[in-house]
């Protein structure tokens, strides 16, 4: 709600600056509360007061918020549940996805350095969330976020004077070239110690156009490097690719020691392939979980697994299986009636075994279940007797 409101604000007024400051201060408080909760990357915590740092705080918030929101639905749901939930409450998860672009528009409106930064900080924030589960990565995350913080902190003193003036002018216009210029500046920032003739000319050109909208890409050249536009653009692209490669290296376990693009790419490819294979394997294991009660020909399967499955499940597990069966039945041709029948039979099976139709009354084993209550029937089962019940039931049905 806040990002959409503030982005509405940002787009609404064209000239004044104070609403932005108010919004940024509000965001700052939110960010600090987020930072306090999220103890994994303390290095991105902004210092309380200055105007420049509030922009970096703005960076932190949307990334964090988006990541937190992204993390919650994923950790809370199963694929089947998510699929089932997507039909009814799909707007919720989708809203999370929508929040992401919304959350990022405000920072891009406030300061020109954001678009490039936001992507990287978002990655860094994501590492921290996922690294909380994954211990080998936890060591790399603080170093990684620590790596970013000098860059981020070096920026506010650099750009602090600038954003405050050009913002009212720049916000209506956002040419891509301006992004390039600032990004180029940010990338060259740590390396701009030396002064040569080439650097001098580039710097002069930048200062002359000062705070207005820059139609050209003004990049500070490093010592001893050519300044023609082709090589500059090339260098910007290469820096971008190298930065992303670094992030990937930190993500894939065991890649930070390897030097050289080809080997790192090798590792990344292996990692992606192994993850995809794991997904296949796990989906096979999940498919082996449960049989339907009324399917003929699954005798062995049932006797081995059904008892264990039913005893071990709580309500949530029961529901998940239900939705998994629902999906599988839809593949079968979408025969809804059959689905519901199956669900009913299964549901009745678990909850009221002694009340089901006459099929079971013919059984001798039915008298074993004297009075199971709906709540306790799952746990009141004796695995052996339930197994025998089902095998008997199958025999009578067939």
């Amino acid at each position: 709600m806040e990002p959409t409101r503030s982005s509405g604000d940002g787009s609404g007024n064209s000239g004044t600056y104070t609403p932005e400051i108010a919004e940024s201060l509000r965001f700052e408080e939110e960010i600090q509360s987020f930072m306090r909760e999220n103890t994994v990357h303390p290095s991105l915590e902004p210092p309380p007061a200055s105007g420049g740092s509030s922009f970096t705080a703005l960076l932190g918030l949307p990334a964090n918020q988006a990541v937190e929101l992204l993390h919650d639905p994923e950790s809370g749901d199963s694929p089947a549940v998510a699929a089932a939930a997507a039909v009814s409450g799909g707007g919720e998860m989708w809203r999370f996805g929508l929040r992401d672009p919304n959350a990022l528009t405000l920072p891009s409106g406030c300061s020109p350095t954001f678009p490039s930064n936001a992507a990287l900080v978002e990655r860094a924030a994501r590492f921290s969330i996922f690294a909380a589960e994954d211990s080998p990565d936890a060591a790399s995350v603080p170093s990684h976020s620590g790596d970013h913080s000098p860059k981020l902190k070096a920026e506010p003193p650099d750009t602090e004077s600038q954003p405050i003036c050009p913002i009212p002018v720049e916000r209506p216009q956002r040419p891509a070239k301006r992004k390039e210029a600032e990004k180029g500046n940010k990338v060259k920032g740590p390396a701009k110690k030396s002064r040569t003739a080439e650097e001098g000319s580039a710097k002069v050109a930048e200062e002359s156009t000062g705070g207005d909208k820059l139609p050209y890409v003004h990049v500070r050249a490093r010592r001893g490097q050519a300044t023609d536009s082709h090589s500059l653009a090339e260098r910007a692209r290469r820096e971008k690719i190298n930065a992303r490669m670094k992030l990937l290296q930190e993500l894939v376990p065991g890649c930070s020691k390897i030097s050289g693009t080809a080997l790192v790419l090798d590792e990344i490819i292996n990692h992606v392939q192994s993850l995809q294979r794991q997904v296949e394997l796990l989906s096979m294991r999940l498919a082996a979980v449960n049989p339907r009660v009324d399917i003929s020909g699954l005798d062995n399967f049932l006797s081995a697994e059904c008892g264990r499955v039913m005893v071990g499940n709580g309500r949530g597990g029961v529901w998940m299986e239900q939705s998994a069966w629902m999906d599988a039945a839809a593949v079968n041709g979408g025969r809804r009636q059959q689905q519901q029948q199956q669900q009913q039979i299964w549901h009745l099976d678990l909850v009221h075994p002694h009340q089901t139709p006459s099929v079971w009354e013919r059984d001798d084993a039915s008298h074993l279940f004297t009075n199971p209550n709906p709540g306790t029937s799952l746990f009141g089962y004796d695995p052996a007797s339930s197994v025998s019940l089902h095998s008997n039931q199958l025999k009578t049905e067939l």
Binding site: L70, P73, E74, S75, S78, P79, A80, A82, A83, A86, V87, S88, G90, W94, G97, D100, R126, F130, E133, R237, K240, I241, R244, M245, L248, L251, G260, T261, L265, D266, I268, I269, H271, V272, L275, Q276, Q278, V279, L282, S283, L286, A287, A288, V289, N290, R292, I295, A304, R308, G312, G316, G317, E321, A324, D327, A328, A330, V331, N332, G334
Partner: protein, 155 residues
């Protein structure tokens, strides 16, 4: 409902859930489109996505590389090739081997990430990053599910 059918259905729902949860990325859109192409998956996809089906399966050209950019890239490559060709020493260079290795691996990566063939190098890397993160979350989730349902390990 055969075993393989069930496994395919589960994998499908898992992929759709993963792609749906990350709607801001290019690969998610591409994944859903790839899944929607096969006629086998259509009914299941429709039942899962519900109202979102039409919106997501509309081919959206905004993230594919526009033709002008492709022409520019091609001409730039020719240009740099001409420049390098004049300077290249005969025989096998370490630099050229390195470059070729990177190119072949990039091609492999493009095949792995859904929809990767259309993007340029830097966005490919970015989407790979995204994709790896989501895949890892997916795998963790499925592990938890397996543990929760106490799936017996038949050996």
């Amino acid at each position: 409902m055969s075993f393989l059918q069930r496994k395919r259905a589960i994998k499908l729902t898992a992929d759709v859930a993963m792609a749906f949860a990350k709607d801001g990325a290019k690969w998610s859109h591409a994944l859903i489109m790839n899944l929607a192409k096969k006629p086998k998956n259509k009914t299941l996809l429709r039942s899962i996505l519900g109202s979102e089906y039409e919106r997501l399966t509309k081919p959206c050209l905004s993230w594919k590389m526009p033709r002008a950019k492709k022409i520019l890239q091609r001409s730039f490559k020719m240009h740099s090739r001409i420049k390098k060709g004049a300077r290249r020493l005969p025989g096998v260079n370490a630099a050229s081997v390195h470059a070729e290795a990177a190119v072949t691996r990039t091609k492999v990566l493009k095949r792995l990430v859904p929809g990767g063939e259309h993007w340029d190098n830097s966005s490919l890397l970015e989407e790979t990053l995204d994709y790896v993160i989501s895949l890892r979350a997916q795998v963790d989730l499925m592990h938890l599910l397996v543990k929760a349902l106490n799936v017996p390990n038949l050996k």
